[in-house]
């Protein structure tokens, strides 16, 4: 029971703040509940297929295959695959981290996983189409093109700046989180 409360303390504190808001600033409190409900429903809609695919990949794709596709020596192909996986996704960024964890566990290069995260956050295709309709094609295409380079740069620099020990820790986390 105590463990359960400890695990959820962050969420519990926030729920408490929301309840407090209902008493002090009811308008904001109710509006917050309304937004939380909509976001929760949307999240529950998008999450099942993503996690089912994740589970199936975990069980069926051998580590060797993943290493060949996205590992240390995967080269350009690894970057392309990482980019496509992120761009073809749906859902908010925080859903991408468990998938990133799986990719790491299967032996993907960390910079490729960062490319995947970058693509998920900035070049998701449904998002791009929506961006083009709201802000125009020039805006979207310019941002998309610049972001292609930015994603690669962020991934490369982050990987370069991390020490060997940091990386060992990252792969250790990936193993303990999905076994």
């Amino acid at each position: 029971m105590n463990k359960l409360i400890r695990r959820y303390r962050f969420a519990l504190v926030l729920v408490f703040i929301n309840l407090l808001m209902l008493l002090i600033l009811p308008e904001i409190g109710f509006s917050a509940l309304y937004h939380t409900r909509i976001n929760t429903l949307e999240m529950l809609y998008v999450i099942p297929p993503i996690f089912i695919i994740l589970g199936l990949l975990d069980v069926w794709v051998p580590r060797e295959t993943m290493m060949k596709l996205m590992g240390e020596n995967s080269g350009f192909l690894g970057k392309i695959i990482a980019f496509l996986m992120g761009s073809l996704a749906a859902g908010p960024l925080y859903v991408a981290f468990p998938i990133a964890g799986l990719l790491l566990k299967k032996g993907s290069k960390f910079s490729n996983v960062l490319i995947f995260i970058g693509a998920w956050s900035t070049t998701k295709i449904p998002l791009l189409l929506f961006e083009a309709s709201a802000l125009g094609w020039t805006f979207m295409l310019t941002r998309f093109t610049v972001n292609l380079f930015v994603i690669l740069l962020i991934a490369g620099i982050t990987e370069k700046l991390l020490k060997g020990a940091d990386k060992t820790d990252i792969y250790k986390r990936a193993h303990s989180l999905s076994n």
Binding site: V46, F51, V59, F97, P98, R143, V150
Partner: protein, 159 residues
């Protein structure tokens, strides 16, 4: 639309997997649940935070924050607002369009959209859980900095 494609893909894969090896499929579903359960506590926290944020910081507040100030201070403010808030795309893009129509600069809007997408202060706990503190902070710092590069290029081309 995309989510429907994901559902079709997941169903087809699940059925294929089941015919090939029911035991392995069961294991896959268990792993799927475990992966979800891993982020569930943070996920719930994020959902409540985002709800509170959307209630407290309505589009008018954001307009006032990043629509008024211009130049470098305006860009910095827009970048910080984008990095901290977590607004879904279907709210952010129309908001950005409205701000542009009301006279906000392209660079401010571009830096706001960029940090909104790439920088996640609210989701940092989940990111740290998977990448560790150093990598997560590094990625977010770099994303924040490079958002200005994205904004500069957009400013030059569209401004």
């Amino acid at each position: 639309m995309f989510t429907i494609i994901l559902y079709v893909l997941a169903s087809v894969l699940l059925i294929l997997s089941f015919f090939k090896d029911p035991g392995k499929t069961k294991k896959a579903l268990k792993k799927a649940w475990k992966a979800f359960d891993n982020i569930l506590p943070q996920l719930m926290g994020i959902l409540v935070i985002v709800g509170l944020m959307l209630a407290a910081v309505d589009p008018e507040t954001i307009s006032r924050l990043i629509g008024g100030e211009s130049g470098l201070p305006g860009m910095l403010l827009a970048a910080v607002v984008g990095g901290i808030t977590l607004i879904p795309g279907f709210v952010a893009f129309p908001l950005a369009a409205t701000l542009l129509n009301n006279g906000a600069g392209f660079m401010q809007i571009a830096v706001f959209i960029s940090t909104l997408m790439m920088v996640g202060v609210v989701t940092l706990p989940v990111e740290i859980q998977y990448f560790g503190k150093r990598a997560a902070v590094l990625r977010n710092t770099l994303a924040f900095s490079f958002s200005f590069v994205v904004a500069l290029v957009i400013g030059v081309i569209l401004g």
